[in-house]
Symmetry: C2
Subunit: 337 residues, 2 copies
Amino acid sequence: MENVTIRMLAERLQLSTATISKALNNSHEISEETRQRVLALAAELNYVPNPYASSLRKKASNTIAVVIPEVADSFFAEAINGIEAVAQEKGYHVLIYLSHENCQKEQTILKDFQSGRVDGVLISVTTETTATGLEQLVRDKPVVFFDRVCEEVKAAKITTDDAAAAYRATTHLIAGGCRRIGLLSASRQLSISNKRAEGFQQALLDHQLPLLPNAITYCTNDSAANHQLLKTAFLENDYDGIIATTEKLSTAVYEVCEALQWRIPEDLQVIGFSNLSTARFLHPSLTTITQPAFEMGKAAATLLFRALKSNNFPLQQQQEVIPSSLIARNSTLAKDK
Amino acid sequence: MENVTIRMLAERLQLSTATISKALNNSHEISEETRQRVLALAAELNYVPNPYASSLRKKASNTIAVVIPEVADSFFAEAINGIEAVAQEKGYHVLIYLSHENCQKEQTILKDFQSGRVDGVLISVTTETTATGLEQLVRDKPVVFFDRVCEEVKAAKITTDDAAAAYRATTHLIAGGCRRIGLLSASRQLSISNKRAEGFQQALLDHQLPLLPNAITYCTNDSAANHQLLKTAFLENDYDGIIATTEKLSTAVYEVCEALQWRIPEDLQVIGFSNLSTARFLHPSLTTITQPAFEMGKAAATLLFRALKSNNFPLQQQQEVIPSSLIARNSTLAKDK
DNA sequence: CTGAAAGCGCTAACAC
DNA sequence: GTGTTAGCGCTTTCAG
């Protein structure tokens, strides 16, 4: 059976394609009676509209893009959930693009968006991203950054309280008796990484603790390389507390401690930014800064759809900070928050 | 700046749109010289083709759909990674749909595929799915099932060695001294669940162990309900070993054991189907059946693209079973494999 | 090697 | 209320 088109419906009902189109789109200029006839026949013939014909004509695709570095990270997985929930409700489709922490790939992806393939974009940038390409994208169409935002670009942003979270994490370690605290950062560029570093430094300052010369270790995307990097850093700096600012780095700390036979929390107290549902079952259970991943995805999508619905919504000025929470467990000694 | 179209290029170069189109598509009927001129101007004006116009005309979208129950599960997250890697390489786009374990939602999603929005579909069905709708889909366009396949439908399938894995898991528990083994199943319908159950039963049989009347607990998608269900099952059946056939159920077992103050592995040995990278750091470290998630996604996508490339590829007959592996850790007592 | 023309399926003006 | 017409931007015969 070949595809049923609006034209076939028109012929069968002795109506024009325009009428059919309007009837199917619940236009108010169509009488209830013909509307019903059209709908009935459409159902009978199992008519399914061709989205591309419609998109071409309307210059709107009912599709949004989600661009993230990777998906195998609880944060992004949950964020996608939040995004998809909203999109499904609004009848939008979700195209997913993984940049694999590769700025080049990200550029290629962004370039494609100039085609009109998507009506809007939700993006969390790579660790290497600069403003290049993003400025243009934001000018072209509705964009909402979430979590890993690009500071330089004026655009809608959903973030969590990065600096405050790191401040709290640091304070928590200090309360647990740590004096030589290290921070593992995912990037020198990423504003959220820098904010976390700032919160960390401020906390040290406020508690009259010196910033160790090698307090901050900048990690890469290569887990084997990171392992080596951390091992060296741990041995050289003799940390008594560490803050891992990503989920992967949190796991890496456990691996390295195992390799070095350092006990957590006796030899090293650990706090990690992580959304792992199993954090409480780790050995020892991991004290976490848990980000509101699902909510952030949902908030970002909601914002995007508001902009998609009304043109005069000042999207670029929207900024939302959703607080994270510190959950104290056994990888740190301070029991309060 | 309004969108650059093929027509604008044509006017500027005093050529026809047909020539431009051919030049851009590297048609061999175009002279190298004009091809270069066209490409140069396209680059200069930053021409980006409209994918929907092209799709409408060609009746092909260069887009595939991935339909999965959820994304917050390491298995699916890794599978997406595998899929996306292949798709990106082939220049395809990936639409993602979450069925949220809801058969109704899944139906709605499948229905949309009749529109020609996607050229092919990769799907892992919900725990409730029946053949309804799937038969039609498979008739309509290339489809590859992965992991959670639908037995009744004749179609390409990528699975892991479910029965064998469960058999091995059971044998492993028996080797560790378990005599009252329970299995936590995600579904009564799902063929992979049933195969796991079969492998389990066969192993008991082969080792002359009786199948407890309540050996198999069928869980739901509601984690609170599951928690209660497991608690009751654990107390009533006094298991000494348990096989959790999904990642979520594995975590649930840890939760319930904590609540009941049962020690793992002394009171209950646990083995879980899980791809969690942190399995080795759980307390106690979790013995797992680890599925080749990334490979399965990759294999499924590769198969789909083969079908998309050549029409006479007998896609529906393709079946691939990728073995899983048992990784013995401290939640079970047997140390061999 | 290049171009003219026809249309993919749908929608939006504008008539009637 | 319904129909006519003219495309959206691209690809594909088929002529030349």
